[in-house]
Amino acid sequence: MDLTLNIWRQKGPDDKGHIEKYPVSGVSPDMSFLEMMDMLNDRIIREGGDPVAFDHDCREGICGMCSMFINGQAHGPNRGVTTCQLHMRSFKDGDDITIEPWRAAAFPVVKDLTVNRSAFDRIIQSGGYVSVNTSGETLDANAIPVPKPQADEAFSAATCIGCGACVASCKNASAMLFVSAKVSQFALLPQGQPERALRVKRMVEQMDEEGFGNCTNTGACSVECPKGIDLTNIARMNRDFLKSSVDS
């Protein structure tokens, strides 16, 4: 396959950045998108240039590191996959492919296609956990009965890998799908109840502080989410936040 890549190049956080054209040839349809990027970088390095910086880690679709906005969509044109699970067979020979970093004030560009997603970490630190005693007298997890439907729903919220595709896809750069998934995975389980109200308040407050936008219920986040996190989670967060604010 012969392709033309239009890639966002930006030397650092303060550089203005621009789109640069890279014609590539000999791309196999069986390559993953990241392998195609590796091939391009290999060539750039051989030519003495600066390779395109991009995030990646497991390349199995479970770590949440890869983060490219491909042809106007987070993780490219396919549903339910991360960029590393996107294969070149999803494109046609001769295609023009535009590759950009996630765009959000809360996700500043580090270099090229790499953005700083520490804002998500700070949201988790603000309340996305269950406080447990780790003194050595930890209870057996199975000692607490959890109905199967709740367990399933909590698990499906917990499949969020924190990649940030929701923020990248939202026209308002809102982080509500991410935050609501992290709120829900505990809100649905008995272990999450004691800190439920405080957790949602703190996490929403931190989300606002980080400079994410507001949800306007376009639903783009859920459509582009590689894990298919549902909008029901956002409704649950809205409900919990209202309840916690009225209660306390």
């Binding site: 949800c215 967060m237 919990d240």
Partner: protein
């Protein structure tokens, strides 16, 4: 963390947007019920409509509701502007290529634009009828302010601006339709009302409401213009 956190929060602005918006939906029903009387022709229609207009402007409970409606309109607009400003700030550098149509409806991405069209219409609409009814020089009929004649004259082919008015009215109702189709169900979602059992019903109702109400509103000026040709 006190209740103060609720007022400052982005979610509070969403709740306000939803509550004011859904209240305005109920206002639309009341307004439409009155307007539909314009389909009654002759003096019978004139009397019915004028009586309705008199009731809407003088009955104490309705007056109270009307103040609530003005407040909701203002809140909805100011809140909408505040949210939009914040949302713009959240993405200072946009995408070179963005394919919004792949993951969301056009209406959901353009609520601000649609709302602005509705607001512009509202100013013109209130100036033409509301202001005249409340503070203007009104013709009288049977001891009541004759709003019926004012409305008919405005949408009469004899008014050189009537065609523009009808077109503007229909256009504004189209904007309202798109605004409602997204806004109705979105309001419930913002308030946390979502469940696999009843959300499909909310969405269906929102669609019927969003298409039906503006459609009925839009037919009236067309009907008045055509029947007076």
């Amino acid at each position: 963390m006190s209740n103060n956190g609720l007022l400052k929060s982005s979610l509070a602005k969403k709740y306000m947007m939803a509550l004011t918006g859904l209240f305005l939906c109920t206002f639309l029903i009341g307004h439409l019920a009155g307007n539909l009387q314009l389909f009654i022709t002759g003096t019978e229609g004139q009397e019915a409509f004028n009586k309705y207009a008199e009731f809407m402007t003088t009955f104490p409970l309705v007056k109270l509701l009307s103040y609530l409606t003005y407040a909701c309109v203002l809140f909805h607009i100011v809140d909408g502007i505040l949210l939009t400003v914040r949302n713009r700030k959240s993405r200072p550098v946009g995408y070179v290529k963005e394919k919004g149509s792949a993951n969301s409806s056009w209406a959901s991405r353009n609520m601000g634009v649609l709302g602005t069209i509705i607001a512009v219409f509202l100013v013109s609409h209130m100036q033409t009828f509301w202001y005249k009814m409340h503070f203007g020089d009104m013709p009288m009929h049977d001891g009541l302010k004759d709003l019926h004649t004012v409305v008919l004259a405005f949408f009469s082919p004899e008014n050189p601006l009537a065609l523009i008015a009808v077109a503007g009215y229909v256009l504004a109702q189209m904007a309202l339709s798109f605004h409602l189709v997204h806004g109705f169900q979105s309001g419930f979602q913002s308030l946390g009302v979502r469940h696999p059992k009843y959300t499909p019903a909310i969405e269906k109702t929102g669609y019927l409401f969003g298409v039906g109400v503006p459609l009925l509103f839009a037919i009236i000026p067309v009907f008045l213009y055509v029947t007076q040709l």
